[in-house]
Symmetry: C2
């Protein structure tokens, strides 16, 4: 596995692969990799001749007071996981390699879409995500890029960006990977102390409750969300940011639960903000 | 010469060329081509195995009350010129091929740079330019792209965008091409009636005056600009938008004239807004 710390090295490797006619897959990550990331790499390795994984804690998607400084990192562990899952090149740049001191160009969706859900409390987050993913697309020029369904709004926004900016890249969504007890895998789970780790189960429990109610025929979004919220509110360590039902493409609120609706939540467990979601009827790109 | 009206056709052609190992050059234009555009195509044809020219009047770079509707078009003439200058593919899309009805993703430089010079009166112009050029880069994935020095601020902004978004594309600047009497070539010159066409010479005259004064040793920007403005103000049909001296990279105003300084102007001749400029010491990429 090649470890590339510069954009130039990545370009050189990918150019050589493309000359060979290889299909190139990209898995953008912020590192501290877990089984959720591994599932993305597995799928990329199964579908692409060459797999590039970026491992970069992107500062432009963190707002003031967020966890940029404390975001967990373990590159040695990441490398071991990536090598075991068939990654061909890991791109591990310094911040200075990715952003000039006076960098000021941003990619942004100027609609209501990035203002919904996580965008309400993280106003610059998706601008930072679009900008760094755009850069990664320009550096790697992949045929396919793999994103987790756990970050459902991010996925929808990347799809919209790809369409609007005419990127010729196929976006593949992979399902949420969960711990045995249900908690959605997240690098941020490491922030949780034992009591919080237990309390964090209210997210997946609310997701499973929502899925059961939906399967049982609940079509009223307000009723569904009220039931999910009520469950979360039973947990003293949990504080709801949002529990919402939105159109799975536009991210705009819906009142009726039907196939394609995304039911998503963000919940603080202590000081740690966690997210989880499900899509009614499943997602088109489940692997 | 291939005429491609869809993004898919362009991608298919370029992919085939890249498989052959061809170097691909892109010349983005808004059509109604003149000798200035031809010089860009000539240079691209000299340096690249395959030349793509886009011919698209991009609505997102026109503000309200600007000349989107009246912007001149003559695709038959464009094709004849392009074929004669060695263009391999002209991309001539409908607006609906380039922009979905709900397209909302923009590429924008969030610094003072796009607010200077033309940005003062055209606040959304460079956002539209960056967005469409970004799309063209993503569609064509050229090795090199060619821009005219006449649109000096656009050129500087594209260079900054390419750097900030990590596009692996070499940006080539080509010098201003002028009519025999000095007027910088522009598709908008067609708006001028005979009296205005004569009056429009104050722009190039002011540029030449500025160049002469600079060569004679004038280093005070205020004095230089005052002399240039005074010349333009002698013409009753002319109304100055701006005559400015700025850093050639950042577009920020300077007080001292030295190599690398861009001296640029926008002047209304009747209702037609024309631009012209020179760079002290010439530009690095002059061809």
């Amino acid at each position: 596995m090649i470890i590339a710390r510069t954009i130039a090295e990545v370009r050189k490797c990918v150019a050589a692969w493309k000359k060979e006619g290889q299909v190139v897959g990209l898995v953008p990550t912020m590192g501290y990799l877990h089984a959720g990331h591994a599932s993305l790499v597995d799928r990329a390795a199964a579908e692409c001749g060459k797999v590039v994984v970026s491992d970069f804690v992107n500062p432009t998607q963190f707002g003031e007071g967020e966890d940029l400084q404390s975001y967990p990192r373990d590159f040695a562990h990441d490398c071991a996981l990536l090598e075991a899952h068939g990654c061909d090149l890991v791109f591990y740049p310094e911040v200075s390699e990715m952003y000039a001191e006076d960098a000021a160009t941003y990619v942004e969706i100027l609609s209501e879409m990035p203002k919904q859900l996580c965008g309400k409390t993280r106003p610059i987050h998706f601008r930072g995500v679009c900008t760094v993913v755009s850069k990664l697309f320009n550096i790697v020029q992949p045929d396919r890029a793999y994103f987790g369904q756990k970050d459902a709004q991010q996925l929808a926004i990347i799809r919209r960006m790809v369409r609007d900016l005419s990127y010729g890249i196929e976006i593949i969504a992979c399902p949420i990977v969960r711990e045995e007890d249900g908690l959605a895998m997240s690098s941020r789970n490491t922030y949780l102390n034992p009591a919080e780790r237990q309390a964090a189960l209210v997210l997946s429990e609310a997701v499973f409750l929502g899925e059961r109610l939906t399967e049982a025929g609940e079509t009223d979004a307000a009723a569904l969300l009220a039931a999910m919220r009520a469950h979360i509110e039973e947990e003293p360590l949990a504080k709801i940011d949002y529990v919402s039902a939105v159109d799975g493409v536009t991210m705009m609120p819906v009142s009726k639960i039907e196939p394609g609706v995304l039911v998503a939540m963000a919940v603080y467990i202590g000081r740690t903000r966690l997210i989880d979601n499900f899509t009614v009827g499943g997602t088109a790109d489940d692997c």
